[in-house]
Symmetry: C2
Subunit: 90 residues, 2 copies
């Protein structure tokens, strides 16, 4: 399963659609963003995706973590948002 990589220029609706698609297929998604603009787009996409998926009966939640990624030989800290289905009781 591919990580959904988000940049500051990513369209939120496109990212939200990608998150929803991966969640429908795998019941798990990982969204990675580097920098404030990208993190903001990722979170906004997650809000939209949550709406799409709730309509499908798949409520979701996320857990954020830091990951080091190497880009052009430099190590940068990315934010990874791990998305999973919410428990039945929520």
């Amino acid at each position: 399963m591919d990580i959904i990589k988000v940049s500051a220029n990513s369209r939120t609706a496109a990212v939200a659609g990608a998150i929803a698609g991966v969640m429908r297929e795998h019941r798990h998604a990982e969204v990675q963003a580097i920098g404030a603009g990208a993190v903001n787009q990722a979170v906004k996409a997650l809000v939209l995706a949550r709406g799409y998926l709730e309509a499908d009966g798949i409520p979701i939640f996320c857990v954020p973590e830091f990951v080091d990624v190497e880009i052009d030989g430099k190590v940068r800290t990315a934010v990874k948002l791990i998305v999973d289905p919410a428990p039945e009781t929520k």
Copy 2:
């Protein structure tokens, strides 16, 4: 319970401490941010708070949503991160 308001200039460690404190006391926290810089700080603080709280045996997850807030008479869209304890099985 007060909403934890985060700005682009908020220190992540201070916000993380606030989230951890509210979670320890109320087992629920709400973090509000307006704008990319603020959302980024909020998410980074949540990663740190997750570390603090896991050490206390309180794993957390978050659900993002949009909320309209009025500031100086203008309506702006904020991102609210709702933080709750993760289910026992996670």
